[in-house]
Assembly symmetry: C2
Homo-oligomer: 396 residues x 2
Amino acid sequence: MDYIFSNKISSLQPSAIREILKATSDPSIIPLAAGNPAPDAFPVDEVREIAGEILAKKPIDALQYGVSEGYQPLRDTILKWMKSHENIGRDFDNVIIMSGATQVMDLVTKVLCNEGDTVICEEPSFIGSLNCFRSYGCKLRGVPVESDGMDVDALEEVLKSTPNSKFIYTIPNFQNPSGATMSLEKRKRLYSLAKQYGVIILEDNPYGDLRVAGEKIPTIKSMDDEGIVIYAGSFSKILAPGLRVAYCVAHQNILAKMTVGKQAADVHTPCLNQMIVYEWFKKYDVDAHIAKIQAIYKKKLDLMCDCIDRELGSFVEYVRPKGGLFIWCKLPDNVNMLDFVKRAVEKKVAVVPGNAFLMDDTDSTQYIRLNFSTPSDEGIINGVKALGEVAKEYIK
Amino acid sequence: MDYIFSNKISSLQPSAIREILKATSDPSIIPLAAGNPAPDAFPVDEVREIAGEILAKKPIDALQYGVSEGYQPLRDTILKWMKSHENIGRDFDNVIIMSGATQVMDLVTKVLCNEGDTVICEEPSFIGSLNCFRSYGCKLRGVPVESDGMDVDALEEVLKSTPNSKFIYTIPNFQNPSGATMSLEKRKRLYSLAKQYGVIILEDNPYGDLRVAGEKIPTIKSMDDEGIVIYAGSFSKILAPGLRVAYCVAHQNILAKMTVGKQAADVHTPCLNQMIVYEWFKKYDVDAHIAKIQAIYKKKLDLMCDCIDRELGSFVEYVRPKGGLFIWCKLPDNVNMLDFVKRAVEKKVAVVPGNAFLMDDTDSTQYIRLNFSTPSDEGIINGVKALGEVAKEYIK
């Protein structure tokens, strides 16, 4: 049978990153293409202890159906934590538990967008979210990312010229892939533009707690007096991604629609997993854990930057990020970026070609994305060294 | 701000069942409205032991990101099991792991349907699936369910008159809510009609292993030489729903698109949960467990039928199901069904009004759905007794 797929899905390609990851499941390849948290950042013993206790003391709660909004004690915990940790939450706000932050993007798009509507994104931006928006037949309009975040003047031009814009998608902290962090001034301007043009902001903050330098900057959601910011938070980077527990803080009227969407999408996030996160907050010092993993990431980021400066210093340009998981490197103008990436794979190093993060991935770019959280320290050293060898082939 | 929601979502209401369940979270209400598996059917000790071992021996596999298709050892196990257990699986078929069977409905609809396309459903049918189809802007066409399953002559009329039908949704075993099981003859006819009209079949089989009487009937997927049947299976009823692990067996070309959809929806099903199911298959005798829970459900079904016959025998009509979780009861013509349901809640018993399962839930019906798996035996006895008291108010 020749299958006829929906318009919104037929044009969608598998995520370039995940395909690269699958191609490089070969353990001899050094994984600078991934976005996995560092395994030594997982609180393994704590999770094992907690899971055992839950399944001993409250097994039926963990194994039975739950409500779509999420496990109430966890919701209460997150609301309280968001208030103290990020100054997030007005009377009109609430929280629902999501199966990973990608589900926030999924349900926000489903709830707000008809096919053909426009989503305004930083360009470059996280391919997983871009594919999610594409999977609902949305058009993407890119706004360039500068070293201090989205070009807000360009944003205003896009808002003026795109009347069917439904929301602005931003990763203000240590943006994926650029590593850029949006300045406070730009956050304020972004908020006031969204208000002026009646457009929602979808603030995705998976990396916010992975800051390794500089001062914390207030979230856009913390400025939200009007209920126009939808905030996506996740435990994938600070606890463990394999649990697939994330959350969305937004105006309760938006969450009500997203809850209906969640009922129809996966009914609810697994109870056991939600309870593990809840008990982790209850039993352990989450702030201390975050400080610990920040130290891990600082070491790895510093190491990768040192390696790049040594092996690729005269070849690539990059802005040192203040946190997150990625370094966004620009190759010289005379180098064919895709050719460079292929040669890197031949040298057993996987990196992500930068075009994967563009609104139109057939556009060309000189950038590649390097990840420092997945590889071991040895992998960082040898991986960047191998990239340096590839670079030499272009210099000679 | 006045939010403007997408067309597909704005008309969608919260699931009536889940809203009733929330309203009746009051523990003094007897829950004949739910669809929860019986808690004493959960292999609690086994899951606790397995989870402890996984988090001791393979914690990083359990806590790190996984691939969208699912945990490979579990996929292999399910393919083998489907072959031996249901005679399912041709060379062109494969399996992907889903976050509950509702995600199968979600991704099948997303992948196959444009807004305005038609999904053909048994009428009545499972509200969760109907809402999923609605959440993509699909039109629903109902085909009446008879005591031996879908009226296949009516189906042919619908296929003839509805050229943009994308798939036929069926629950052939112990259908929710009717309890009906489709005969082998009808399964064959359904398959050949789908083939003739070039329409996919979505076969949802969550209750197949909860048979308590009669002989097993081959699945429609087992007849599928053409790759036109998508099969949704779940561990929610035979293991535990709170884990949210299900699967989809279908032609690999369909699964490739669904995998792209899953990447954009929730990236992957939690690794820990998939590994729990895998180890459960590896370490324990799943067939023996299924036999054990069948005994539990037989006892509860028999008890509820006995109670209905005693308390409501002259009031309601029903066909005794051969398995599943539900009994579909018809009230006398002169009784206002919604009024009956309200009076039942006043007597502290929750049942689901049958209109919730119709294509257009503003249509009227005389049916209510009773569940016998969630309540305790005492709950079944007292719940049906209370319904008998409500009935008396109409008789006198």
